[in-house]
Amino acid sequence: MIPVDFDYYKPESIEEAARLHEQLDRQKMLPLYYSGGTEIITLLRLDLIQTKAVIDIKAIHECREHILGEDYLVLGSSLTLTQIEERNAFPLLTSVSKEIADHTARNKITLGGNICGEIFYREAVLPLLLTDSLFVIGGPQGVKILPAHEAFQQTMQLGRGEFLIQTLTRKDFLGMPYMSVKIRQQWETGYPLVTIAALKAKGEIRAAFSGLCSFPFRSKRMEDELNRKDGTLDVRMDRALRHIPAPVLNDIEGSAEYRLFVLKNTLTDILTVWEVEQNA
């Protein structure tokens, strides 16, 4: 049971949602945008967040769009992860998504909810970072479009009253070779020791990570080291690991040392497969 009361709103347009948020914010109702809601319900039940009003964005048409257009794949932020997987227009995203929570939970968890949530893994963002996707954001100032690496820096960079409407991914990225691996301490569901998503774009390797630090990231400096032509794979890997942007997590899921061990081995496996293919 959720021990607190809140009001529930279900706007049908971006403008109405933004207007409601402004109004409720002025009334000190601590409004929260709500999509799948799985995390909000859990955190409210545990009294870890406060709100007196939730704004459900699932009735906003743009948030439900799922279009493979001429140039871009459009994914509405309120699409559930299983809807994205079943259509499978973005195989790397499907692959990463299938490892998040479990199938029934993914019938409720949405793309936007996973990326904008409090739980720091936010793995659905990895493919979007790797493909230089665009994020469409709505709010009191209207609608704006930002590159993924600007809109998402450790967390979604949303201003007051803003929410994620859609992501746009260029179609030419959708068919590129990819790999994604989620390594857990044990079992086949649960949080990762490390999740690696990798893409081979025009011969260059791109890689993004979750579970390694306290935020998901893509590091160009790490990619530069991995793509250097000099040095053995082992040497390039050691150079790349020097550019991990924050302390490696050291918690009950795994020690920092173990995470690095797992990261290095998994990344080596991925690169070995691709380099063998390239030299074949």
Binding site: Y8, Y9, K10, I41, T42, A53, K58, D102, T104
Partner: protein, 154 residues
């Protein structure tokens, strides 16, 4: 339109419309059990992990502990009480696919949806769907047999 002051919710549950006085903060699980007396969906982890509270919403499995009741308005909710005399129920009985039975309704709901949506599902798909539920008595082998027999029939 704000739903703030709405006190009555009309929910379609097991093909019947029900008028319910509710709080917007009520979960679907809480309303099914507390307001409608449908106690087949079980509270387990209340966290979306165990699957004991699974119901179908428009035929799709949902963990009712992580869904607000108001989100189900306009959709068809099916609980374990709505699956009386189905092949899925019979198969779980035939294969003794339970021990204490607490998790059984959740497993049956997922299995029923899978048979409806993907009657020719391969082993990987069956595993993916059924991993959403946990059985602490570890009746997994019998559950697997029950699921396999239903899909084979389909």
């Amino acid at each position: 339109m704000p739903e703030t002051n709405k006190k009555v919710l009309i929910l379609s549950v097991n093909d019947e419309d029900k008028d319910i006085v509710f709080r917007p903060a009520d979960t679907l699980l809480g309303v099914l059990r507390g307001k409608l007396g449908l106690t087949g969906a079980k509270p387990g982890c209340l966290n979306g992990d165990c699957g004991a509270c699974t119901v179908l919403v428009d035929g799709i499995p949902m963990k009712s502990c992580i869904m607000l009741a108001i989100e189900a308005e306009g959709h068809k909710v099916t609980t374990i009480e709505g699956l009386i005399n189905t092949k899925t129920q019979a198969s779980f009985i035939k294969h003794f696919a339970f021990q204490c039975g607490y998790c059984t309704p959740g497993f049956i709901m997922v299995c029923h949806s899978l048979a409806e949506k993907q009657p020719h599902a391969d082993k990987a798909v069956i595993k993916e769907w059924m991993q959403s539920n946990i059985c602490r008595c570890t009746s997994y082998q019998e559950i697997e047999e029950a699921v396999a027999s239903i899909l084979a029939e389909e």
